[in-house]
Symmetry: C2
Subunit: 315 residues, 2 copies
């Protein structure tokens, strides 16, 4: 097995560009030049094989997805992605696997404008920790805590695809062109949508744990309650066909892994928000409203309790 | 098992102070306010149970050590620690274990001036990824690449204690008051020493992989060679008594896990460097010099090849 240093040089070192990286991979630390006056949004997410993704998934998708779930947190703050660091733990370095993993990771770096600026490689069961750094003008961060009674709730894209894709994988689907499987293994963090909404939305969160769980976080942080319109939920195309009506609804409410943005908006801002996202090709759907009465209403009573934790179990 | 959110709230959330944290644990991202004009030094290190530390070590030491190894990278750049994020993967949350783990982590946060600003907890085999952020005035970072032929090589503290402590652990020593075991499980990152040397040293690296391996990195980055004075190596007290002369020397040269700083200095800067470190209570020992001839000389021919990789194996 090549040393950590050889692997980093071979697969994770790229020529620095005009990206604020003063010193990249290869010293004790990475040196970054933040934009003066801006604040820094930082998040770390660890993706563990057979907990958060199937260990036998294509290496390209594993690399892509590990970065995507971290970038989704930047999207939910409305931050502009700048830099990331990767802490890769893997049992044995198969070079063909690593090359594909790096290709997936770098593909999303390129489309999201984030530079891999450092990291480390250690030996152990496969897991990937990605720390992302984004920037925001002062006072512009979208927090979870700004929602007010009377705001409407809206969601980008569609719901349930993450869980639908996990089910498809479990049923043997392996074609990444399958829209559900792609939604699960190659999620698209809503970076541009988050930035476009940061002067309109009162609060935002990304849907990683499932709509209900993340809505609950937003409501608790903001001290409000919510009334959901279950008929309005934008189910991922193909979801009902694969799962049936009931499971499709459950997947949208509790399945997790969708990495869409859930936002609260003053009613008068909805039209402008939708217009801006339309130019980005991202649908925005109103799915309910917020009130001063705590709790979440409009939810079917019949969601099996296991559903809400399904994302935390081995696929 | 309590949820990730409950665990974070209970053990890893502290009241924000005047520490540049605009928004701490509990949103999609942490929001930080970097010092205008300064550059940011960032590093991530993952500590995997039974690879980097014994999984049965005291939880206090595991928490302390996971942060220490990352802070050591900031020390080697001369950076002032500001913020850290922790990605904790653990199989099952025993609350008494977590409380001790958090106590060790926070103890080093307090003495090193770093604020735990975010993180996540996932389920899997025990490993801890710590991303640290430090700050530096422009142009003041200590790099690996600035050493010049004619510089002297010096090292802080003592060498071999990390490996000696690992051997002590393997032999059944469990008392953290044992100096060797403490050197291994509770290493002291040389943060103040790094800052004190940043306008004197021409290059620096922390000794995590072993003196020879890290000296090699420094020499390669700087395009120089080195002549070591093996008689001058400051062996950790008690090391010879425990390992014998030969193994003690091997531990100092190749054992790793010492987290001391290896620096290059112009000869005329040595006296001032030693004076500054003396006020910090940190010894500085000259152990050789750099030349334009590549390679490392003065090394015994007899180091078993396995030694240099020992740190990467299960203790």
């Amino acid at each position: 097995m090549p040393s950590e240093f050889e692997l980093i040089a071979r697969y994770f070192t790229r020529q620095p560009g005009d990206d604020g990286v003063l010193l990249g991979v290869g010293d004790d630390c990475t040196l970054l030049q933040p934009t003066p006056g801006y604040c820094l949004a930082v998040s770390v997410d660890t993706s563990v094989a057979d907990v958060h993704f199937p260990g036998t998934a294509p290496a390209y998708a594993i690399g892509y997805r590990a970065l995507a779930v971290s970038l989704s947190d930047l999207a939910a703050m409305g931050a502009t992605p700048r830099w990331c660091l990767m802490a890769l733990t893997l049992p044995e370095a198969e070079e063909s696997w690593l090359a594909e993993f790096a290709r997936g990771f770098h593909a999303l770096c390129d489309t999201s404008g984030v530079t891999l600026a450092g990291g480390d490689i250690t030996c152990g069961d496969l897991s990937i920790g990605v720390t992302v750094h984004g920037e925001l003008p002062p006072g512009m961060a979208l927090r979870r805590s700004g929602a007010r009674a009377g705001d409407v709730l809206a969601v980008t894209g569609s719901l349930g695809g993450g869980h639908g894709g996990l089910r498809a994988w479990q049923q043997g689907e392996r074609d990444l062109d399958d829209p559900l499987l792609a939604a699960y293994l190659l999620p698209q963090p809503r970076i541009e949508a988050g930035q476009a909404l940061r002067d309109l939305a009162t609060a935002a969160i990304d849907i990683s744990d499932g709509l209900l769980a993340d809505l609950q976080h937003l409501c608790e942080a903001s001290g409000v309650g919510a009334e959901l319109d279950r008929e309005a939920l934008p189910l991922t195309p193909g979801l009902v066909e694969r799962l049936g009506d009931t499971d499709a609804l459950h997947a949208a409410l509790g399945g997790g892994d969708d990495y869409e943005l859930l936002v609260s908006l003053p009613p008068k801002a909805v039209k402008e928000a939708r217009r801006r996202l339309q130019t980005l090709g991202v649908p925005l759907t109103v799915i309910g409203k917020l009130s001063s009465e705590s709790g979440i209403r409009g939810v079917p009573d019949s969601i099996p309790s296991g559903w809400l934790h399904f994302h935390g179990e081995a696929p």
